[in-house]
């Protein structure tokens, strides 16, 4: 008990120095939590966008579909198959899709379009398609009308309530064709989606392509996205070799790559930050040892065992580092929350990259408590590792030597 008291008093012996050390630690924790929260927020948001815009976290296709997206690679929709997938623990929901290309035409223009047959409610549940309606209405269950994207509408030079003609190659070489009224206009951030997509009810699409009850994919929604890879693996096992189970990471390797490189560069910045802090802490420890050399020598001379001295010095560093860490965490919480409510809007190159992927470059910070705990613990450990220096000094200390006249 007395040793704890002594450590506490020693910590405040040189107020300025302690204040400098604490603020170095404080800023390290603050900067690293804020950067990490921002980064995680950026990626969380990015991934959320990917999912909500189109692909979903996991998709199931007939084996080979993703490589070659032709109608030969479709599979039979069935209650049993859906049931098998939905009984997998982490799967919350699925939406069936039938996707294929077609030529869309008005009286004057012909453009290529991606026809997506959907089950309106299920699709909306996973990709919030309804929210992308900017004009007109969303599909109902038995609708024979269609939704088209704003870009496609402009390219065709058509408008809401107009009728367009679709023409494509159907299943087994048949001809797919039909005439549809435009019931709603959708706007997507992604140029690809915005320039080509065209939605209709699933049975309508299946009928047009001559492929009743056939699907190109199931789009899955998960309960916990953290377990996406395990879920995908176990679905692969259950469904066997006739199907392919793909995560968004596999479907969009360019985004996965982008996140990886971005995280790597952020790691380097954070490591540099930690190195700076280490120098700061080490410097003060060095000064502290020089300043207290005589006193520590005297304590050994009068009979303080070195193990007790080490205990004392570790307590002193612990107090300092913990104070800095706690302050850092306490102050960073409101800052991070502020950045969550008032998200950062990127501009320039960075913004362009995101716009190319089709997302608005607005990024709220992540308030995942793990970030705070993790960064706090890292700095705490760094501080403790650094305090080994005085310990080594103490172990080697000779009382006569250290008490020589200064």
């Amino acid at each position: 008990m007395w040793i704890i008291k002594l450590a506490w008093k020693n910590m405040w012996r040189n107020r300025n120095r302690t204040a400098i050390t604490i603020s170095a630690i404080f800023f390290a924790v603050l900067l690293s939590t804020v950067t990490n929260s921002l980064q995680d927020g950026v990626f969380d948001n990015l991934i959320k966008n990917v999912v909500s815009f189109y692909n979903g976290y996991v998709q199931i296709h007939k084996k080979g579909y993703w490589e070659e997206r032709i109608l030969d690679n479709v599979f039979e929709d069935s209650k049993e198959l859906q049931h098998t997938i939905l009984t997998e623990d982490n799967v919350q929901n699925l939406a069936p899709r039938f996707e294929s290309f077609a030529l869309s035409a008005t009286e004057t223009n012909t453009k290529s379009a991606m026809v997506i047959g959907i089950s309106p409610d299920k699709e909306n549940f996973i990709t919030q398609l309804k929210n992308k309606i900017i004009e007109g209405n969303y599909l109902t269950a038995n609708d024979t009308d269609i939704l088209i994207s704003e870009g496609l509408m402009k390219r065709l030079g058509t408008k809401l309530n107009d009728t367009i003609v679709l023409l494509g190659q159907g299943y087994h070489g048949s001809i797919a064709s039909g005439k549809f009224r435009i019931k709603g206009i959708l706007k997507f951030g992604s140029p690809d989606l915005n320039d080509q997509s065209l939605y209709m009810n699933l049975p309508l699409a299946q009928e047009m392509y001559g492929a009743p009850n056939k699907l190109t994919s199931y789009v899955l929604n998960l309960k916990t996205n953290d377990e996406m890879n395990q879920t995908a693996r176990s679905l692969k096992n259950i469904l066997g070799k006739d199907y392919e189970v793909m995560t968004w990471e596999e479907m969009m390797p360019e985004i996965t790559q982008h996140i990886k490189t971005d995280k790597a560069s952020m790691y380097i910045i954070v490591i540099l930050l930690y190195i700076l802090v280490c120098f700061g802490i080490f410097g003060t420890l060095l000064m502290m040892m020089v300043e207290r050399k005589y006193e520590i020598g005297m304590l050994v001379a009068i009979g303080m065992k070195k193990i007790k001295l080490i205990y004392l010095l570790i307590l002193e560093s612990l107090f300092t580092v913990i104070t800095g860490c706690l302050l850092g965490i306490l102050i960073s919480i409101p800052i991070v929350y502020y950045l969550k409510i008032n998200p950062i809007r990127f501009t320039g190159e960075f913004a362009k990259t995101y716009e190319e992927f089709g997302f608005e470059p607005i990024f709220p910070a992540s308030t995942d408590s793990n970030i705070f705990i993790e960064q706090g613990i890292i700095v705490l450990l760094l501080g403790l590792i650094l305090s080994f220096y005085p310990l080594v000094k103490v172990l080697r200390l000779d009382p006569i030597e250290s008490m020589k006249k200064m």
Partner: protein, 239 residues
């Protein structure tokens, strides 16, 4: 009669690799309980080195040092720290005290190191501060005390651990003559009333006059020794 220190033919050489300095040369030293000894001699004569040797802070190149019958030259560095804690009281020339602790806490510290009980510590601190005449300075920081007062706290601390003897290397060197006399008064009183053994080095003539036994060192050798005043131990004051 109880022997406290029995050093036999001890020597210590520094700078063995370059120009060797024979700091202590074949010294025999025998101290009985209750002695009050001044170690004198010119600067560089080996007083500090000899005190470090008998205080277990340094090891001789040759010879044995028995404290209360234990040969401390045979102890490991760690055993020596513990030995010092329980057997030797130290008063250094200056900066004896931990600046962040109060006078009282500085004295308590050594007893806490010894693992003594709270009550015993509390009582002993009161007694000791009374004896060194600083009962009103219990809660003062070292910086708030004069040099003389700081040395008196150091004496209180040295006694707190109930050592075999108190060892003081030039305890009055940084004090004015009044404070020095005052410190000597206190040491003398503790020597008489508690039969505490003191050995201190000095080159201050006024301090030497207060000693009951004076050992003179010249070039690391004992040049003269006034011998043990046996009558001290029968309670007869010399002053």
């Amino acid at each position: 009669m109880k022997t406290v220190i029995d050093a036999h033919n001890i020597s210590k050489t520094f700078n063995k690799k370059s120009i060797p300095v024979l700091a202590v040369k074949n010294v025999h030293l025998h101290l009985e309980k209750g002695e009050f000894v001044a170690l004198v001699g010119p600067s560089g004569s080996g007083k500090t080195t000899l005190l470090n040797l008998i205080g277990g802070l340094d090891k001789p190149d040759q010879g044995n040092i028995l404290i209360n019958g234990i040969d401390i030259t045979k102890l490991s560095a760690n055993e020596l720290i513990d030995f010092r804690l329980h057997n030797i009281g130290f008063v250094f020339q200056s900066f004896n005290l931990i600046p962040v602790l109060t006078a009282k806490e500085n004295v308590e510290l050594i007893m806490q190191l010894q693992g003594r009980g709270k009550r015993e510590i509390k009582e002993r601190v009161q007694t000791l501060f009374q004896e060194v005449g600083l009962s009103d300075k219990l809660n003062s920081r070292p910086a708030q005390l004069s040099g003389g007062q700081q040395q008196r706290v150091a004496v209180a601390r040295a006694l707190a651990s109930k050592p075999q003897f108190v060892l003081a290397d030039e305890p009055t060197a940084n004090l004015d003559s009044k404070s020095a006399a005052n410190l000597l008064d206190i040491m003398t009183k503790l020597n008489q009333e508690e039969n505490m053994t003191f050995i201190f080095s000095t080159h201050d003539q006024r301090v030497i006059e207060r000693a009951r036994r004076v050992i003179t060192l010249v070039d690391g050798e004992v040049n003269s020794d006034t011998g043990t005043y046996l009558e001290l131990n029968h309670g007869n004051s010399l002053i």
